[in-house]
Structures are given as C-alpha cells and as structure tokens.
Point group: C2
Chain length 246, copies 2
DNA sequence: GCGTTCGCTTGATCCAAGTCAACCACGATT
DNA sequence: AATCGTGGTTGACTTGGATCAAGCGAACGC
C-alpha cells in the first residue's frame, strides 16, 4: 500500500496504475477480462489520485469526463437542493465506481466527498466507450455495473418508501456488513466512516432517530456500539427486524 | 393509431416496426442517429407487442433478454418484498425504456404492468450491445439513457428522504406535466393513469394522504381535480410548494 | 494540561402522516 | 332502474419520528 501524501493538497501522481495487479480487479471494472484485455485497460486507467478526508472528488455542476474507481478509502455522494436541503445518495467503498450519474448530462449531478483518505483511479469516459466497443466483455460488464446501480437505487427507494426507522437502520447495517465481507473484512465488526447525521440523511431520518435506534439495537443485544465501532452480535435478529411488519 | 387487439390475450404481431418512421424517435433510443444507422436499428427492433391494461410486460424473476421501448401507453414498475410490502418504483410513458434493471443479474428485478392498453417494441439486448459496438452514437446515447435513469432515481430518493407529503405530490405533478409536454400534450391538463394508491406507493405515502393533498391543492386554487382528471391552474404555486421548507 | 469543538446520547414535547372507519361517486352488470 | 364493486373523499383519533434542549465524552489546537 502506498503511503499517504504528505502535502495537504490533492496530489496527482504518475505512479503506474495497473488494473492487472490490483487486488480489487474482480470487484471492479476489469471483472472477467483476460490478460491481454487487462493490459489494454491498464493503458486507459493511467491516473491515480489521492483524495484527503473531507475533500471533494468532484462537485455537482462540474463538467463530466471521467468515471472513478475507488482503489482504497470510502466516499459519500450527496445532492443539494436549492433551498438548502441535502440528501446523501450513497456510500461507496473500494472497488466501486463513482460518477455514473454524470454521463447523462455531461455534468456531475452530485458531490462526491472522501470520508477517509482515499485513492481513486480516473477512467476517461470517452476512452472507456471506445475500448468497450472493442472488448465485448468490458462493454457487457460496464452495462451490468450501471444496471446494478439502478437496482441498488430501487432498493433505497423501497427502504425510504416502505420501511420504518429501525428496519432502515438494520437494512443499512446488513448491507455494509455484506459489502465489507465481499472485500475480505470481517462481516461482524467494522468502523463506520460516516457520522450519525450522514447515516440519517441517507436513510431519511434525523440523527437523533439513528442514535436511538442504535441504542435500542444494543439494548436488545443485536449489536454492540461504541461510537463508530460496530460489532454485529446477532445477524438473524437484524434480519428479522428488517422483514417484520410491526 | 392501431386498433386494440380483439382477443383478450397478449398478442405478438409481425407488423413491420420501424424506428425510422416512429414519431417518438427523438425521445427514444434512436435519438441522434442518421438515416443509415436508423435502418440498422429497425432490423433489430423487429417485434412490437400489445399489452392490455392490467397485464404484465414482465415479472420480477423472469429471465432478461430484451429491453422495451414504449410506443404508446403507460406503465408502472413495482418491487415486491418477501413480507408482502410493495413499492411502485416508477411510471413510464411513450418513448421511455423499460427493463434496464434486468441487465445486472440477467433477471428482471421488478414487475412492469400496463396501466392502459399499450404497445411496446422489444429490443433484444445482446443485439443492442453488438449494434452499439458499431454505432458510436447509439452506444453513447444508450449510456446516457441508463445514466438518466440513475439521476431520476436520485431525484426520487431526494423526494422520499427529505420532502413532506404536499411537496412530494407537487413534485410528482410537475414532473408528469413536464413529461406530457415533451410529448406534445397539454402541460396543464391530463388524465392520471394510476390510482391514488399507486401514487401513494410511489411517493411513500398512504392513499388517504394523497387524496387529502389533492383536496388541499384544489382548495388553494393550484389545481382542479375531478377523479383522475387534473388541470394545473397555477404552476408557480406548485413550484413554490415544492421548494419551501415549511 | 485545559478549554473548545464536534459528534453522540437521552429526555420531553409536538405534529405530520398513518390508521380506522364511514360514506360517496361512478361504471359495469343484470 | 337497482345492485355491486372499486376507487376516492373525509373525519376522528393515534403514533412514530421530528424537534427542542440539555448534557457528555473523545479528539484537537494551543
């Protein structure tokens, strides 16, 4: 793992990025490619960038010309309404793509902010399109990734539209747990990278409600919470909470 | 306009469908293509199908192999949870695409149901992928359409996560109005194709709440409602309702 | 080491929307 | 014309989560 930048700035590095030896390749865009294809993708994904905690990867309104793969770290995306209200639309971790929303208007439609010091790979979109005209597998996988994003959003709509507070939080924790597991981390123990307020914004709840739900889950023995440190003690308990109409 | 099928069944017709003389082509997939490219798309979009009001175009769980363009009519998509709760994830009208969610898992993840007698064009997905490897413009436009779907979903998340009942309904009406306008219909007068219950499901509200909000809008002179017939009397009033933190 | 700040927790109160229930309007059926 | 069913409206009441407010603990700057 490379060291973090010592300067306080976003740093552009010319380190040779290589999908071919990235351990996230099976989670990320290169999924399913053979060696020769991978090397062609390497040429495309040439810039890696460090984003410090709290900095923007991009902002709503900026011109879109690349999508970003998260190499390490953790992001949130959010949308701001004219009247000041905002909503977190997602949390993204290593191996996931950012910026897909920008394709439609050629401008980013949300902000992407690092929740911890992170590293991303920039993928110039027009070059991705031309490469995917040549590599069938890449094209298809990219379509799957976009479609998966749509399905994920439907899940969030379901959550916001039909679930009560505790169900939402249970669903959220189970989803995080499952994504950490896919990345080789513990499914039962992790640190939240976001605040209660950010969780609340994502789940359509106020931070106090999130906090109370955490406390309740702890009282009932489903989890152990200590600030941002979460241990899941009873997965099935959480699953049951999620499915039962009160 | 073709006549409705006289049989009670979904009918498969071999009418020569042609994007090239479809008046929705500028709203739909063919956007931006030249004549020669349009003809190649015509070959691909060969099957047109009629779906009667209340019938499914596809169901969650079915194998995915095509996306669908709505030639005429009106659809809703919904997702069903194991515990019986369901949520309408969208309403689609002529020129819009259905089925994009199925790409990710190769199975449809929601149900698509006609809210009035409708006609769709089936677009075999693997053939669309190969054609878009050859036609740059088609590829790019398809990516834009998928991305637009993601942006739309973020809008719904915003609505469900941060807006109160009347704001949601105002946003919904303005969105419908805008889409009808884009199709050459009146922006101020239209018939709702869906029930109060379906609107409520989409907006994360109960049907009674939707009904009360309609009544309130009417009392305040923003709209005139008579069952499913809506006239918008004061667009700015609705817009103001949407943006103001109470 | 100490004060300040930020994020989190907890309690008391309030209110928007949900729930339950009655009733109405319009179409379809006979 | 009478009946039935579905969808819509409206009222009375309840409630889950928001709001307001106080206090606490960990992290950070000086």
């Amino acid at each position: 793992m490379p060291q973090h930048s010592t300067s306080g700035e976003i740093s552009l590095s010319v380190i040779k990025t290589a999908c071919s030896n990235c351990n996230l390749r099976e989670l990320c865009l290169p999924f399913g490619l053979n060696i020769e294809e991978l090397e062609r993708l390497d040429d495309l994904v040439s810039t890696r960038r460090r984003i410090k905690r709290g900095d923007h990867l991009y902002r709503a309104g900026e011109a879109f010309d690349a999508i970003y793969a998260i190499r390490s770290g953790f992001f949130k995306t959010d949308v701001l309404l004219e009247d000041g209200r905002d909503q977190v639309t997602g949390f993204q971790m290593a191996g996931e793509l950012l910026g897909l929303d920008g394709i439609s208007t050629e401008h980013h439609t949300c902000n992407a902010i690092a929740l911890e010091d992170s590293e991303i790979c920039a993928i110039p979109f027009s070059r991705l399109e031309s490469l995917s005209r040549e590599i069938h597998t890449l094209q298809h996988h990219f379509h799957k990734v976009m479609s998966r994003e749509i399905v994920r959003d439907h899940g969030v709509m379901m959550l916001l539209g039909t679930m009560r507070a505790e169900e939402r939080l249970a669903a959220f924790l189970l989803n995080l747990s499952q994504r950490f597991t896919a990345r080789g981390f513990s499914h039962a123990e992790f640190y939240l990278r976001m605040t209660r307020d950010e969780i609340g914004s994502y789940l359509g709840l106020k931070l106090e409600t999130v906090s109370r739900a955490f406390s309740r889950f702890q009282e009932e023995g489903h989890i152990a919470v200590q600030q941002k440190h979460i241990r899941i003690l009873n997965v099935n308990g959480l699953k049951a909470l999620m499915n039962h109409r009160s």
